[in-house]
Each structure stands twice: as structure tokens, then as C-alpha cells.
């Protein structure tokens, strides 16, 4: 593993992959690509603490593991707490001379359920204590592993098995929790949103999060063909579309104050947002929004997205 993150295909091919083939994630899942790209940004020995979720379950079905680096499975709610414990244990052992590695990075990974809802207290606590670790949330928009229940990360209008679209409601009525903004409000050194289709942007941001002195937070978008009722081959293009429609804008926040819009989103700002309908059309979980009775609701979603986008542009100082 090198001193510079691998962003060109030649450098990437030289890197050791941290996840091997033969894992049992669904065909077309975005999460293994997210982990592969994360591996390109690593700078040396690394420990991964993975809370319960699709990724944890499907990569480590006994007696197999797909991970090639040290990996701990922890409960749904405490990957951030375990990561801070691992980090402090290493520091204590090093002081006593029991630990040989000069430097070790600790990464906590959680799904959107484990990060937005269940593990939120542990994340907030770990950020406040200021441990030098990186938390990555891979966000597939619902509790996909347990059967597509709604979570804090579910978009407005998204149909899940606990927010069915029918005659009474058009899927989830509430807004998506702005997790990256909430984390940025902890005034930690580095927060960024990423998604796999802009892979260079992903890798550079992840390395920045590792390099930051103190906690870093990465919010990664990760499409789920099974839960979203989308075609398996469209995973990466849907992810790109989420940036182009402004549903998952890409930005960085330094020390909770300096907001920087990333290149791919800046290009979107120049060209103008695509209508959210283009994103909704690619997925079966939004098909009810195209019924005539929910047209007004769909327009409301578009207004909300436009409003959030304008607020973000103002924050980042982009015209």
C-alpha cells in the first residue's frame, strides 16, 4: 500500500484489494464497489469495525470471509464506539511497548440504518471525543438487509415495506435526515459526501478523511437494485443520476465551517439540475409517483430538492 492514493487505473491495479470475490452481496450491489474504492485510499495497516448490515452479513457468512484486512463485526449501534475503543487500546498498548506498528488507521463502517438511526448516538459521542478515526456510512436508503424497511435515509416518496404507497399515502412522507450536515455541526475536521461513479473524487476524499487530524466522516451513496427495484446493470448510472438531480450532492465540510462543493456537483451547478423524475423513473420503488393522484406530491419533492440545492450552493459560495 502506497503513500499516495491510487486514482489511475494502473495504480489501482497495483493495489491489494481489501475485499475478495465470492462474497454474497446481491448481483449489482453498490456496496462492494464502495469498499473496493475505499481500499484504494488506504495508507497502511488498517482495522475495520463493521456494524450489522448487508455488508457485514453478506461478506462474512460462516465459514467464509471476504475481508483481507483485520475486521471486527459489532452490533448494529456501536461501530463508532468500538472503533474508538480499538484506537485507544492501540495507543495504550503502544505506550507499554506491546504494539509494533508505527501507525494504524481505524475505520468504522455502518449502513444507513446503523448510522442514521440506531448508531447515531455512538457516532455523535465518538466525534465529540475527537478520536482520530474515519466513519463511513454506506447509504442504500432503507434497512435492505432485513426486508426493505424505511430508515432515516429513505427519500421522500420512496416506497418501502413500512411505508407502502397506496390510496392513502405516496410512500414515505417525511424528509431524509441530512446526516452529513448534522455531523458537520459537530465541528469535526473533515466531512464529505461521495458516491461510487465519481471514483477519483471518492478516493481523494477518503484519503483526506484519513489524513485529517481527528475524526473524519464519509457519507457514501450506494444503490441497492433489490430494494430499489432497479435494473442490476444501472447501479452506477443511478448513482451518477443522484448527483445530477441534486438528491445526493457532493461536497466537503472542513472544521464544520468551510463548505466546498466538489467538482462533479459544480459541473451540475453550471449545467442546472436534472428533474428528479429522471431519477425516479429508473426505480420501481418510485413508480407510484407517476400516478395522476400523486403528481402534486411529486412537484413538492422537486421544490424541496431545488430549495435544498440553493441553500447548499449559497453555503459553498457557488453561483
Amino acid at each position: 500500500m502506497s503513500n499516495k492514493p491510487a486514482v489511475s487505473i494502473k495504480d489501482m491495479l497495483k493495489q491489494d484489494l481489501i475485499l475478495s470475490s465470492g462474497h454474497r452481496m446481491c448481483a449489482g450491489c453498490g456496496a462492494p464497489t464502495v469498499i473496493k474504492l475505499m481500499g484504494m485510499a488506504l495508507r497502511g495497516p488498517t482495522i475495520v469495525c463493521n456494524s450489522t448490515g448487508c455488508l457485514e452479513v453478506a461478506t462474512t457468512i460462516y465459514p467464509y470471509t471476504a475481508w483481507k484486512i483485520p475486521w471486527i463485526h459489532v452490533a448494529f449501534e456501536n461501530s463508532a464506539a468500538v472503533a474508538s475503543g480499538a484506537l485507544e487500546a492501540i495507543n495504550a498498548m503502544r505506550e507499554k511497548g506491546h504494539y509494533k506498528h508505527e501507525h494504524v488507521d481505524v475505520i468504522a463502517i455502518g449502513g444507513d440504518g446503523g448510522s442514521f438511526d440506531i448508531g447515531f448516538g455512538a457516532i455523535s459521542g465518538a466525534l465529540e471525543r475527537g478520536h482520530d478515526f474515519v466513519y463511513m456510512c454506506y447509504d442504500n436508503g432503507a434497512y435492505q438487509n432485513t426486508g426493505i424497511q424505511r430508515s432515516g435515509a429513505t427519500f421522500t416518496g420512496q416506497e418501502t415495506t413500512t411505508s407502502w404507497a397506496g390510496k392513502v399515502i405516496p410512500g414515505k412522507l417525511e424528509r431524509k435526515k441530512p446526516l452529513a450536515e448534522i455531523v458537520a455541526a459537530h465541528k469535526i475536521p473533515y466531512v464529505a459526501t461521495v458516491e461510487p461513479s465519481n471514483f477519483r473524487d471518492f478516493i481523494m476524499k477518503f484519503r483526506k478523511a484519513l489524513d485529517a487530524e481527528g475524526p473524519g466522516f464519509i457519507h457514501a451513496f450506494s444503490p441497492c437494485p433489490r430494494g430499489w427495484r432497479s435494473a442490476t446493470e444501472e447501479t452506477i448510472s443511478i448513482s451518477r443520476l443522484a448527483v445530477e438531480t441534486g438528491l445526493h450532492p457532493l461536497y466537503e465540510v472542513i472544521n464544520g465551517e468551510e463548505w466546498i462543493m466538489s467538482g462533479p456537483s459544480k459541473r451540475v451547478a453550471e449545467a442546472g439540475l436534472k428533474p428528479v423524475e429522471e431519477y425516479f423513473k429508473t426505480q420501481g420503488q418510485f413508480k407510484h409517483l407517476f400516478r395522476p393522484e400523486w403528481e402534486g406530491f411529486r412537484k413538492k419533492i422537486q421544490e424541496q430538492v431545488n430549495h435544498d440545492w440553493e441553500v447548499l450552493k449559497k453555503r459553498c459560495g457557488v453561483e
Partner: protein
């Protein structure tokens, strides 16, 4: 798994990293990706590689030896999702029914 109860590592530990490679997921596949050599940018000049970057199953094998580039699919693990075909900028990959 054919080991007896007293032959497996204590506490169900898995002591071999990345041993999921012993579990072949190729049987999940309904459609098989096929490469047309003449369009592939990796074979032409060793650039692009988007299929390798985005393959969630690490089933694309790109190799380079003495300036010659080679391409292969690992059909033991490919689940046939079709991301490689969809992301290929020159449409060099297409899917065929198994």
C-alpha cells in the same frame, strides 16, 4: 465444510483472510458478459478500466505483461449484473443468455 466439531478453530474464528474465494458465486448468473476485443480501450492502449473499477464481484481480470494488455472475465464469481456492459464507454461488452 467437512471438518468435525473438534477440527474447526475455537469460537468459530475464521483464520484465513479472504477465503470466500472458495465459494463460487458464478452459478447465480443468468446472463454472461462477453468482450469484443477490437473496441476495448484496455486492450488497445491500457487505459479506461471502468469495468474493473465498478465490478462488485472483482470478476474482471486486467493484466499487463511487457506492454501487452490482456482481459478476462472470471466466470467463477461473475454474478451477471451487467454493470461492466452498462459502464463501458465504447460498448465493447455485451450480455448473452447463459
Amino acid at each position: 465444510m467437512s471438518e468435525k466439531y473438534n477440527e474447526i478453530p475455537i469460537a468459530g474464528n475464521i483464520i484465513e483472510p479472504g477465503n470466500s474465494e472458495k465459494y463460487k458465486t458464478g452459478g447465480w448468473r443468468a446472463e454472461r458478459p462477453i468482450l469484443s476485443d477490437e473496441k476495448c480501450l484496455w486492450l488497445k492502449n491500457g487505459t479506461c478500466g471502468r469495468c474493473w473499477i465498478f465490478c462488485p464481484d472483482m470478476a474482471v481480470i486486467l493484466t499487463e505483461k511487457d506492454g501487452k494488455h490482456a482481459f478476462a472475465f472470471n466466470y467463477d464469481y461473475c454474478k451477471g449484473c451487467g454493470i461492466c456492459a452498462n459502464e463501458c464507454p465504447t460498448d465493447a461488452i455485451h450480455l448473452e443468455k447463459e
